[in-house]
């Protein structure tokens, strides 16, 4: 179904962090940006579609400002990484807690919000105006009690969906939200004390990957479990959805990437999943996997200690 394409080399190896690969397709310029995290550095590669040009850029987090005892948790750049437009720091607690302050999980949410998860369980909601760079912190959502692991906005493109954000934490709990000036909590789906490391939202269905290697599909607003897959033999690090075709991608520490197909009909509440394909990245614990386009024609994979982005294309 898929075959391996030429890999893209990156300047540093990928660190073992959840969802450690981002892909941004810029159709008007016929190129795709790939980003991979190595410790406190972001490696960016911009690949032209004709396969001839690769530009590299590295973004490093600003040195922590020990004097004012704040923890820098977020920096925002132009999409090509050229200019930093915003940064945000949180106060470090007086006495060091057993968990350092860090950010994890990010999503762009309708209409003009960017949400960022924090180790305390809080979610920062930033208002990003369509013009100008006056980004402000709009709200702090404090529903999760455990560290945020991942979050995702509704990716079907339909504005009829009531819920447009799902957030996940280390206890496997999922919160379902409706965005706005004040975000509204629509539902809370409890975890079973098993971390949910990656989550996506499509046609009102939350697709969640867990540390046990299971994938679960929930109807977000009601919490009804529609499907449960014993998908991987180790901790899942990444799930992704190709919204135009309903293809689902899952990747884990067990070296396997799997492709599935979902058929979701919200009107009849029906959800079906079938397995389509496996790819094994030998001797590699996979930490990131993303479709490169909305149809799922191609996908890319990163692994711990690997200095390349491996790509696969439909045969």
């Amino acid at each position: 179904m898929y075959h391996k394409e030429k890999s893209i080399q990156i300047k540093n190896s990928a660190s073992a962090l959840y969802n450690n690969l981002s892909v941004l397709r810029i159709a008007p310029r016929r190129l795709t940006h790939f980003t991979v995290v190595h410790a406190n550095m972001v490696n960016m590669v911009s690949a032209s579609w004709d396969g001839l040009n690769y530009t590299h850029r590295q973004l490093q987090s600003k040195e922590p400002n020990v004097a004012t005892s704040t923890s820098l948790i977020m920096q925002m750049y132009e999409s090509d990484g050229s200019i930093m437009v915003y940064w945000h720091a949180l106060d470090t607690p007086e006495t060091p807690t057993a968990q350092a302050v860090f950010a994890r999980g990010i999503a762009a949410v309708y209409e003009n919000y960017i949400c960022v998860g924090v180790s305390s369980g809080a979610i920062l909601v930033f208002d990003v105006p369509s013009k100008g760079s006056n980004i402000t912190l709009s709200e702090v959502l404090e529903e999760h009690k455990e560290s945020i692991t991942d979050m995702a906005s509704e990716c079907s493109g339909s504005q009829e969906c009531i819920a447009n954000l799902v957030t996940a934490d280390d206890g496997g709990n999922l919160c379902v939200w409706k965005s706005g000036e004040e975000f509204q909590l629509l539902n809370k789906i409890p975890g079973f004390d098993m971390s949910c490391s990656s989550v996506k939202l499509w046609k009102g269905t939350a697709v969640a990957g867990y540390g046990t290697g299971q994938i679960r599909l929930y109807e977000a607003v009601t919490g009804i479990l529609h499907a449960e897959i014993n998908a991987h033999a180790r901790w899942i690090y990444s799930v992704d959805i190709a919204p135009f075709s309903g293809l689902l991608l899952s990747a884990a520490e067990d070296s396997l990437v799997r492709v599935w197909h979902m058929t979701i009909t919200p009107e009849t509440n029906s959800v079906e999943v079938v397995h389509l394909h496996n790819e094994c990245v030998t001797d590699t614990q996979i930490c990131g996997a993303r479709f490169c386009d909305g149809d799922g024609y191609a996908f890319a994979v990163t692994g711990y200690d690997l200095s390349e982005i491996i790509r696969y294309i439909q045969s």
């Binding site: 300047k11 540093n12 190896s13 660190s15 073992a16 962090l17 190595h38 410790a39 550095m41 040195e63 922590p64 020990v66 060091p96 807690t97 057993a98 968990q99 350092a100 860090f102 455990e146 560290s147 692991t149 280390d170 206890g171 004390d193 098993m194 971390s195 490391s197 540390g211 046990t212 290697g213 299971q214 009804i224 479990l225 529609h226 499907a227 449960e228 897959i229 014993n230 991987h232 033999a233 180790r234 901790w235 067990d254 070296s255 396997l256 509440n269 959800v271 079906e272 999943v273 079938v274 397995h275 496996n278 094994c280 030998t282 001797d283 590699t284 614990q285 711990y304 200690d305 200095s307």
Partner: protein, 380 residues
């Protein structure tokens, strides 16, 4: 990242170090009483109460340099001496062994079982010495208190923090190559077969449910591997069967400890760029080292009657060759301790320096404020 990583890193690396030293002491036919003294001295220092107090505080992981310095000190806590090349090799083996164990743990929580395997072995080394034994038991209690309440997600964070520390290390280890757990490019073999972790199901099943919660169909799929159901869970108590073999002693007199320097991954140079950035937490590292040295008994070095040298190589020529041919990017750059401007750290160090001078051994130019603390130690 996690602030609870350092104790596990230290204890597991320390455990590996003891396995290797024990093997070398036997291989070089060091008299039993001397060998025992070395092992006891090192273990006593490792589990020094004040040192452990410092270690168990919530904090970021130390830089590679700082940690290497701590182990340098530890290896020299007794009458045994190691040359630079042997110390480098010892540290390579320790770190690659623990990297292997961390990577291959089926669940992140199993890192605690690996730690208990090391602790169990350490306990066995000192089973005839009640005073040290009680220190070791106390450490078990601290480990259990700190780590057993953690969730799986928090353990994964600890594991991820450790994996960042070990990033880009691909030193080839003879024993691993022979056992086929490491490839010739230095990367570890990750099998797609064997028992799944405790708490995980064998992959291959899709279950679908109706709105009322009834399962209406199940589909099977090919999982591309050869998995079996999980083994029973190991014990997280002071005593018990840990089940996993990771963290147990893989060396014996007949299995030599070699590493290969040539042909390491060309990416190994990259990690030194990241670690070259100045570490703003140098003060904390200094505190730990101060505590460690506070726990060290003053030993008269190189005395012909008691002191001896251990080598990690078969011959002295090999050892010298290894020192000359070691690639630059793999040098550890042992930290050069300077007394900081910070009053408290200064006072602590001055106190320790003072204790050493009082014992009757001269310390070189202590009056100079920016003195090298390590040089001071070597002067004893």
């Amino acid at each position: 990242m996690s602030s609870r990583t350092l104790p596990l890193l230290f204890i597991n690396l320390g455990g590996e170090m003891l396995y290797i030293l024990d093997q070398r002491l036997r291989a070089q036919n060091i008299p039993a009483d001397k060998a025992k003294k070395v092992m006891n001295d090192i273990i006593t220092t490792m589990f020094n109460k004040k040192f452990l107090e410092e270690l168990f505080k919530p904090q970021e992981l130390y830089s590679k340099k700082a940690l290497r310095t701590v182990f340098d000190r530890l290896a020299h806590a007794s009458i045994m001496r190691l040359n630079q090349a042997s110390m480098d090799k010892l540290y390579d083996l320790m770190t690659m062994a623990f990297k292997y164990q961390v990577l291959l743990c089926p669940r992140p929580k199993d890192i605690l079982l690996v730690s208990f395997n090391h602790m169990d072995a350490i306990k066995d080394f000192v089973k005839d010495t009640p005073s040290i034994l009680s220190q070791v038991d106390e450490t078990y209690r601290q480990l259990i208190e700190m780590y057993t309440p953690l969730s799986s997600g928090e353990f994964q964070l600890i594991r991820q923090t450790l994996l960042i520390f070990f990033q880009d290390m691909h030193i080839r280890v003879s024993i691993f190559l022979k056992d086929k757990v490491q490839n010739s490019n230095g990367r570890f073999v990750l099998p797609t077969s064997g028992p799944v972790p405790h708490g995980t199901q064998v992959p291959g099943l899709i279950r679908m449910f109706s709105c009322t919660g009834e399962e209406f169909t199940r589909l099977k799929f090919n999982n591309g591997g050869n998995y079996t159901t999980a083994l029973r869970e190991g014990s997280f108590d002071i005593f018990g069967d840990r089940v996993t073999k990771l963290g147990t002693n893989m060396y014996s007199v007949s299995r030599p400890v070699e590493t290969h320097m040539s042909g390491t991954s060309k990416n190994s140079a990259q990690h030194t760029k990241v670690s070259a950035a100045p570490n703003p937490l140098a003060k904390e590292e200094l505190n730990l080292l101060a505590r460690l040295m506070g726990g060290l008994e003053v030993q008269k070095p190189g005395n012909a009657d008691t002191g001896f040298r251990i080598s990690l190589f078969a011959t002295d020529e090999e050892e010298e060759e290894a020192l000359i041919s070691r690639p630059d990017e793999l040098s550890y750059g042992v930290i050069n301790i300077q007394a900081t401007k910070d009053q408290q750290a200064n006072a602590e160090l001055a106190k320790i320096m003072g204790e050493f001078t009082e014992s009757g051994d001269q310390s070189p130019s202590v009056s100079n404020k920016g003195d090298d603390l390590l040089a001071m130690m070597d002067g004893l």
